[in-house]
Structure formats: structure tokens, C-alpha cells
């Protein structure tokens, strides 16, 4: 035991002073009695004349000396060395990634990590500041430089595994920033080591790593996808099972269609390898296929996966053309679209009411938001344009949204932005164009294709949003180019159609990784949608122009999205993460500057201070001393009590 403030022992001179004061005790108050004969008889055996013997009999003095000694000891701040963290400031980085849900520690790795953290917190100096950072996909500071142990324990208790991966770099960055502000900081990483680490990170403070977990026995469904055949007459499920363990494993894969078991495979998976399973006997009306690896392994989370069949509601397309075989054929071959052909005269007739609403309602009835109008070499004559997405192909004259200024001949097309989704996978360089309408590029639009004519560059394909509707202008008549004869044509058509119909449920990806944000692209007039999680909890999502982002995908399973009166879509969140499924704990983290693991560390020493219990004991003695001093009054009080009660 050592002392932080040994100078407090100077106060020990007070001890003899107390004794001296007892020896030089103040005179007692005098009282005359008839005779002291009896009193003398009584105290004869008690009283001794020697002052030292008198002291020996005095409990008050003993208690006072004890109290003072304890107080002096407490003031000297004794401490002992114990195992644990020693810093004046400790930052705990707890890995809460999915792999921490492994059950090789009891009950889980995360719980084991929490226990370790609690032990370390208990071993800290009383005034040490504690920061707790939960590291999964993102780093989250749960407690910052707190001395409130209760808050720290509450936060530790409330920690749960997320389904995401673990990214220690941001956590370490945060910790480093905190450590830079505080001297004598120790960073403690509690993790199984299945983490992303930055290449190089300058860290302030000491880092210690506590590896959690022992087992590496895990098999996972690392992939599950469904493919519809081209004609839609067959659905094939493809599953991939990975054995991350060092031993061969035997697992049974069960496949369920909408909850009913329809196939099972007994698989032998060699160590550190994968097995693929293809099942093509899935019923056609299946919406959801789930796969389960029967049996036990260390990480149960990745033994399940879900996949959803494509659920596309056909989007209506109105093609207004004098006749364009390429377009008609191309559109009809596009899956997920119902194409209505109209002659310009018919369109004008339907448009006779003069309002775009009446036209669209006549044409489509309801759900006009997903209506796509394609005007091929034609522009509506009436004022105003119909509601819905618009594609103008070689517009002959200006409209309210763009201006036609002339004609350009033999432009050489080229891409503006190769990453533009409208022209993905398209090789435009081999397309020859006879002539194109010259349009001035509107403010709302973005240029996708441009054509060069003698050094001047003109837009060939522009697209953009006017208010909430999507409008694209293709400046050349496809019949006056060799585009329809090339592979680029159906791709461009498909891209354009997809882009113009954002409201379809196809706008929701069918598979996600946990923690990833889902972008919902619903019909533009939908304002709210309800997302039902796998545990049946619901979240209402506000949409803007049919778009919204749902980020709370921490649960594994199938999410349902409902909107409008009957709109429904699903997406699945699966733990297809080799990093998390490969649960073999790392005994050492890859090199970080100044890293210590508990194996090769210096002796772990934490200072444990004792002044608090000493102080409390001293106060207890003080209380006892007071009680002893007042014992006569107390006894009288106690003696009087029953009498009062009986009265």
C-alpha cells in the first residue's frame, strides 16, 4: 500500500492532543448529595486513580482516536495496485458487429466483452473518465468522458449487437481525437478481431486489445438469390454455403417457399470452402424463399437467408406515333411495361377537353403517376402537357419546356458522363446519325449524349426533372440513324423506360446488407409508406416525390413496404458478410502504432484508492461515538417510549 498524500500523516499529532485533553479533562459539574457512601461503594471497583487506567476505560476516547486515525489514513489517500486499466482516462471500444453475437463465449461474445469492460471499469481509479464507443458499421460514442459509473454500466447493459460489419477505423479515429484532449489516456479494444482496420493510424494514447471469443466453427449461407427465367416460367434459387471453419462440416440446407419446406440438401462442406446449391423447382407464385442451415454452429445469425422473387407491376406506357416499328417492338419486348399505341389524332381527340388531367384519366383511369408518354416525332398541339413522365423523340417544334432551334446534320455522338445510368452498358460510338433536331439545352435538363458537328457540340439526349415529373428528350429520330440496328438500342430503351418509371416497386432493391440504407422509389404521389420489420414493428416513412430512405435495416429478415391502398413490396436483409461470418477470433490486431495486446503487455496495473471506504468507516465511528456520548439520554428516551405508548 502506498499513499498519494503522505503529508496528511502530520495530522497524527492530533492523536496525543486528544489523549492529553482527556487527561486534562474539564472539571465535572458538582452536585451535592447526602452522602457519597453508596456512590463510593459503587465506583470503588470501577474507578482507579491512575489517569492511564481511566483512559483505558473510556470508550469515547477510543472511538475518537479511531475516528481520527481513520480520517488521517483516508486523507493520506492510500492506494493499492490491482490488475486493470490504469489510465486517468479510458476509452472502451466495444465491437458490436454481427460476429460478436457468436455464442462461443457465454452467453455471447458481446456479453463477455461487456463483462470484461465492467471489470475494467470497476478496477479504475475513482476519478478516471470513461468513454464508451460502440463500433459496428459506424462508430458511436455512447458515453463521453464520464465519471458516472452508473451511467457507464447502463450504457454497457444496453449495448446490443448490430448486424453490420465492424469498422474500427472510425472508432479509433474518434478515440484518438478524444485521447488527444486528455492526458494519460488508455484505449481498450474489446473485439473478436474481425474488424476493418485502417492501413495506418496515428493514435494518441496507449492501445490495448482484449480478444474475445475462442471458436471458429461457423458455416454460413453466403448467398441466396432467385432468378426468373426469361419467359418467367421458372424460378431458380441459387444458394451458396460457406464453411469458415478449419474442419469439414456437414449441414442440412432447408429451402422454404413462402414458409413451406419444399426442398432440403444434405451438404458436406470441406473446410474453408464453399458449396453451391441450385434449386429450380420453386413454385411460380412464390414471393419469398428462405433458406435455413439446420443444426448448430457458433454464429446462428448467418444460418438463415431470405430472397424475394421479382415483383414488378407493369407500368403503362402510351406511345403516340404515326407508326414506328422499332419503337413499338422495342417497347413491347421490355418486361414490366404495358404499351398503348396511339395515333396523334387519337391523342388529340382524347386531349380535346383541353386539360391534361382529363386526358390522362381517360387514358389510364387511375394511378396516372406512373404513366409514361412517349411522343415520337410529335408534340401535343394543345397547351399544356399530360401528367406523367415524358419522352420526346425528335420533337418537331418547341414546347413550353424546351425550344427547338433548328436542325443539325450528321452529329458524331459521344458520351458526356460514362457513369450516367441512362447510358450504362451502351456503346454509342458506333452509332451513326443522319440528322438531329437542334435544341437549346433547357435549364432543368442534364446532358447525357451530345453530338459534334464541325467543332460545335449539340445535345442529343437530355434528361431532367420538371417539378416532380421526369422528362427526357432524344434529339434524333431513331429511324434516321442506325441505332435500332445496334445492341445499344434495346439497352437505351430499357434504361430510359426504367428511368422514366421511378414509381414502380422495382425501385426497391430486393436484397440488402444489414445496416444499409434502402432507397424507396415509389410512385411520385405517394406521401407516406409503412415499413414493417421482421419483428412486425412498423415505421411510417415520409416520402418526397415518392422517394424515401429507410435506414433502420438492423434486423435480419424480410421487410414489407406498404403504401397507398394496395401497394406492397418486400425486401430482404441478409447477413452475407464473409468478414462477419468468418468468426475465428484474431489474437492480435494488425499492426497499429503502439498497440499492446494482453499477451505481451507490461503488467497491467491500476491504482485502486481506498480513501472512500476509510472515510465511510470513520464516519460510522463518529456516529457510534455520538451514540455512546448520548447513551444516557437515549436510554431515557427509549425507556420513556413504552410508557408513552401505553398511555
Amino acid at each position: 500500500m502506498s499513499f498519494l498524500a503522505p503529508s496528511a500523516f502530520i495530522l497524527a499529532v492530533l492523536l496525543p492532543i486528544i489523549v492529553a485533553m482527556y487527561l486534562l479533562k474539564l472539571r465535572r459539574s458538582e452536585q451535592v448529595v447526602s452522602s457519597v457512601y453508596l456512590w463510593r461503594r459503587m465506583v470503588r471497583d470501577v474507578e482507579a486513580n491512575a489517569p492511564w487506567q481511566r483512559l483505558r476505560r473510556n470508550p469515547l476516547l477510543l472511538l475518537q482516536l479511531l475516528f481520527l486515525s481513520l480520517m488521517i489514513l483516508a486523507l493520506a489517500q492510500p492506494f493499492t495496485w490491482t490488475a486493470g486499466a490504469s489510465g486517468q482516462s479510458v476509452i472502451f471500444i466495444l465491437d458490436t458487429s454481427a460476429s460478436m453475437a457468436s455464442v462461443d463465449a457465454v452467453p455471447t461474445r458481446l456479453e463477455a466483452a461487456k463483462d470484461q469492460a465492467r471489470q475494467l471499469v470497476n478496477g479504475l481509479a475513482d476519478d478516471a473518465r470513461v468513454t464508451v464507443i460502440a463500433a459496428s458499421d459506424q462508430a458511436q460514442v455512447l458515453v463521453s468522458s464520464s465519471q458516472d459509473r452508473r451511467q457507464i454500466f447502463q450504457v454497457l447493459d444496453s449495448l446490443q449487437t448490430s448486424m453490420g460489419g465492424s469498422d474500427l477505423s472510425s472508432a479509433l479515429g474518434l478515440a484518438s481525437a478524444i485521447a488527444a484532449r486528455q492526458p494519460d489516456t488508455e484505449i481498450i479494444i474489446l473485439s473478436d478481431g474481425r474488424v476493418n482496420l485502417p492501413e495506418r493510424l496515428g493514435i494518441q494514447g496507449r492501445i490495448r486489445y482484449f480478444p474475445i471469443g475462442t471458436s471458429e466453427d461457423n458455416q454460413a449461407i453466403s448467398l441466396l438469390s432467385l432468378e426468373s427465367s426469361a419467359g418467367g416460367e421458372k424460378i431458380t434459387a441459387f444458394a451458396q454455403i460457406t464453411n469458415y471453419s478449419q474442419q469439414d462440416a456437414q449441414r442440412r440446407l432447408e429451402l422454404y417457399a413462402d414458409g413451406f419446406l419444399f426442398n432440403a440438401f444434405d451438404l458436406e462442406i470441406p473446410a474453408k470452402s464453399q458449396r453451391a446449391v441450385v434449386a429450380d423447382d420453386i413454385p411460380l407464385d412464390t414471393i419469398m424463399v428462405s433458406a435455413v442451415l439446420a443444426g448448430q454452429d457458433t454464429l446462428p445469425l448467418d444460418d438463415q437467408a431470405w430472397a424475394l422473387t421479382a415483383q414488378r407491376e407493369p407500368a403503362p406506357v402510351t406511345l403516340v406515333t404515326e407508326g414506328n416499328r422499332f419503337l413499338e417492338t422495342g417497347l413491347k419486348l421490355l418486361p414490366g411495361f404495358t404499351v398503348t399505341l396511339m395515333k396523334p389524332e387519337e391523342f388529340e381527340a382524347n386531349f380535346a377537353n383541353g386539360t391534361s388531367e382529363s386526358v390522362t384519366s381517360a387514358a389510364q383511369g387511375d394511378d396516372n403517376a406512373s404513366q409514361i408518354y412517349i411522343f415520337d416525332a410529335y408534340v401535343p398541339v394543345s397547351p399544356g402537357l399530360p401528367t406523367g413522365s415524358l419522352l420526346f423523340i425528335a420533337p418537331p417544334r418547341s414546347t413550353e419546356v424546351f425550344t427547338v432551334t433548328g436542325l443539325i446534320e450528321q452529329p458524331i455522338p459521344r458520351l458526356v458522363d460514362p457513369d450516367d445510368p441512362l447510358i450504362s452498358n451502351i456503346n454509342i460510338n458506333q452509332v451513326n446519325i443522319l440528322d438531329a433536331i437542334q435544341i437549346t439545352e433547357p435549364e432543368w435538363a442534364r446532358r447525357t449524349l451530345e453530338g459534334e458537328v464541325g467543332g460545335n457540340v449539340y445535345p442529343l439526349l437530355v434528361s431532367g426533372k420538371i417539378d416532380d415529373r421526369r422528362v427526357a428528350i432524344l434529339a434524333f429520330d431513331i429511324r434516321r440513324s442506325d441505332l435500332p440496328l445496334q445492341v445499344a438500342f434495346p439497352l437505351l430503351l430499357a434504361n430510359l423506360a426504367d428511368w422514366l418509371s421511378p414509381g414502380r416497386s422495382g425501385g426497391i432493391p430486393s436484397q440488402m446488407l444489414p445496416g444499409a440504407a434502402v432507397t424507396l422509389s415509389l410512385p411520385p404521389d405517394i406521401v407516406t409508406a409503412t415499413v414493417t420489420r421482421p419483428d412486425q414493428s412498423k415505421t411510417n416513412l415520409s416520402l418526397s416525390a415518392g422517394r424515401g430512405v429507410f435506414a433502420d435495416t438492423t434486423q435480419l429478415g424480410v421487410y414489407r413496404v406498404n403504401w397507398g391502398s394496395a401497394g406492397e413490396a418486400h425486401f430482404a436483409v441478409n447477413l452475407f458478410s464473409p468478414q462477419e461470418s468468418d468468426i475465428a477470433p484474431a489474437q492480435n490486431l494488425p499492426i497499429i502504432d503502439g498497440l499492446q495486446t494482453i499477451d505481451d503487455q507490461l503488467p497491467m496495473q491500476a491504482r485502486r484508492e481506498w480513501w472512500r471506504p476509510l472515510g465511510f468507516t470513520a464516519l460510522a465511528f463518529l456516529l457510534v461515538e455520538w451514540l455512546v456520548y448520548q447513551r444516557a439520554n437515549l436510554a431515557r428516551l427509549l425507556g420513556r417510549m413504552p410508557k408513552r405508548l401505553s398511555l
Partner: protein, 309 residues
């Protein structure tokens, strides 16, 4: 307690006797001081004497010898046995009743006052004895009173009651008794032992020696141990320095929670010790608290203790 110095003011006491009312004295005439042993007296009285004499109470036979009064020969015995026997009768004589009153300063204490109580008790007992045709002598046990009038010489007859009362009224409790020496001296100096009633608080070492000396001299000792209520139940708290009212000696006590309890236990032990001591020597011991009315003391308590009848 300040008025305890002059306890017998005329306004407080009836005019005739000074100590007692007439009716009370009438009541006293019905009781007598009990003497357990027959003792030889001086004059004809109402006490059985150790001598054989002329009373109606038969005591014994003894063979006739020359010179005996032949009027006392039991002729019935002679008829049966043809030998002369003299019938002996119990002689009845007077006795000297010794009243010893402790006049030390410690007696002047308490509420009711111990000394007042002792004086009144002595007066009543003296009157009883006078009425019973006994001699009464009173001695005040106090250093300063032994020489100068602290002694009421043996008187006989009810006509001396007034003198006895006035003697008692003249006593003050302001001396130091030195009980042991005083009692030993009394035992040595008393001409004729008889019933002896000691009224004292006995709060002095030496009582044992004194009482032993009295018993050895042949006194029929009754100890009336007078204590005031606040001596039996002291109301003391805290750390105190107790001063003796008589000797000015000091005792320091520490006010512990069981102080009074321990005191009372000590008192009870002491009283038990006294009771055993007296019992072993054929004395009567009567612990008396001054809160007991005098009448109850005389008519009930002392009878119970076998001191009065």
C-alpha cells in the same frame, strides 16, 4: 430543603406535644415496643424480666431449700411426689428502651427529610415506651452533640413525654456521626442493655463494628434504616462530581446509561448485606423510606418487622 434546619416550627406542630397531635398519641398508646428477650430491669414494670418474681405467669419449679418462702410451695406437687417444690413465677420489671438518633449532616437530607422523619419516629417510639412503663433514653449520635445535651437520660412515666419531645425538638443534624465509634462507645458505656432502636441512614463505614459491639453487649437491637426517596432513586445524569454533604468528600462519576441502574443494584446489595448482617446477629433490620407515612411505619411496617406489637 433549606427549611429542614428548623423542622419543628410552632405553626407546623400542634401546641401540646410539639411533635404529635393528641389523637395520634392516643393511637400510640395501643402499641408497645417488642422485646424479644427477657431482660432484668430495675423497678416493677410490665416487661418480663429474666428474674423470677411475682407475677401471675408461671415460670418453673425448683426444689425447696431452706429459707424459701413456704407460701410458694406447690402443695399439689407435694401431694403427688411427697417432695417440696417451689413454684417460680415470671418477674415483670421495667426495661430501658434505648433510642439512638443519627444526627449527622447526611441525615438532614431528602424530601421528606430524613432527620425530621427520624426525630418524629423517635418521638413516637419514645412515647410508646413511656406509656409502656419503660424507661426511655435517647442519644443523639453526633460528634458535637455527645457532650452538650445530646443525651436524654433514662426517664420513666408518661409525664416525661413532654420533656422527651422537647429534647428531640432541640436536636439538629449538623454533626459528623462517626457511627462506628459512637455505637461502640454507647455499647461500652450503657449501664443496662435493653431494646435499642437505631434510627440512622448508616451511610458511614463502621456500622458493622458498631452494631456488632451493641449486639455483643446484649442489646436487643432494631435498626431503622432511613433513606429518602432520592437516595433510593437518584436523578443524576452526565459526568458529575458528587460532594458529600457531611464529609465534603468527592466522588467523580461518569454518566453512563446504566448509572442509576447500577446505583440501585448497589443499594439493594447493601440493604441485603445489612439484612443478612442483622439477621445473623439476632437484630431486626427495617429499611425505611421517608415517603412512608409515620402512621404506616408505626402501625404496619415496624409490626411486620417485629419491632412493635
Amino acid at each position: 430543603m433549606s427549611d429542614s434546619k428548623t423542622p419543628f416550627t410552632p405553626t407546623q406542630q400542634p401546641a401540646r406535644s410539639g411533635l404529635f397531635e393528641e389523637t395520634f398519641l392516643r393511637k400510640l398508646e395501643r402499641i408497645a415496643i417488642l422485646s424479644k428477650r427477657a431482660m432484668a430491669g430495675q423497678l416493677q414494670g410490665e416487661r418480663r424480666s429474666s428474674k423470677r418474681g411475682q407475677s401471675v405467669e408461671f415460670a418453673d419449679f425448683r426444689p425447696y431449700s431452706v429459707g424459701d418462702d413456704f407460701r410458694r410451695i406447690d402443695w399439689n406437687a407435694y401431694a403427688r411426689l411427697e417432695r417440696f417444690f417451689i413454684k417460680l413465677f415470671v418477674e415483670e420489671e421495667d426495661l430501658t428502651v434505648h433510642l439512638l438518633v443519627d444526627t449527622s449532616r447526611s441525615m438532614d437530607w431528602g424530601q421528606p427529610n430524613k432527620f425530621t422523619y427520624a426525630v418524629r419516629s423517635a418521638g413516637a417510639l419514645g412515647y410508646i415506651a413511656l406509656h409502656g412503663l419503660d424507661r426511655v433514653t435517647i442519644t443523639a449520635l453526633g460528634v458535637y452533640q455527645n457532650g452538650n445535651g445530646g443525651y436524654f437520660s433514662p426517664h420513666r412515666g408518661k409525664q416525661n413525654a413532654f420533656a422527651l419531645f422537647s429534647f428531640l425538638q432541640g436536636l439538629t443534624a449538623d454533626g459528623q456521626a462517626q457511627l462506628g465509634y459512637a455505637l461502640q462507645a454507647y455499647a461500652a458505656g450503657a449501664p443496662r442493655p435493653g431494646p435499642l432502636l437505631l434510627l440512622s441512614d448508616l451511610m458511614e463505614d463502621g456500622w458493622a463494628n458498631g452494631l456488632t459491639a451493641l449486639a455483643a453487649r446484649g442489646f436487643d437491637v432494631s435498626v431503622l434504616h432511613i433513606l429518602s426517596p432520592d437516595e433510593i432513586n437518584p436523578d443524576l445524569t452526565g459526568d458529575l462530581k458528587l460532594l458529600d454533604s457531611e464529609t465534603k468528600a468527592a466522588v467523580e462519576i461518569t454518566g453512563e446509561y446504566d448509572l442509576v441502574k447500577r446505583y440501585r443494584k448497589g443499594l439493594a446489595d447493601w440493604q441485603e448485606e445489612l439484612r443478612r448482617f442483622c439477621g445473623a446477629r439476632g437484630m431486626q433490620y427495617a429499611p425505611i423510606e421517608t415517603s412512608i407515612p409515620i402512621e404506616e411505619l408505626l402501625f404496619a411496617r415496624l409490626r411486620k418487622h417485629g419491632i412493635l406489637r
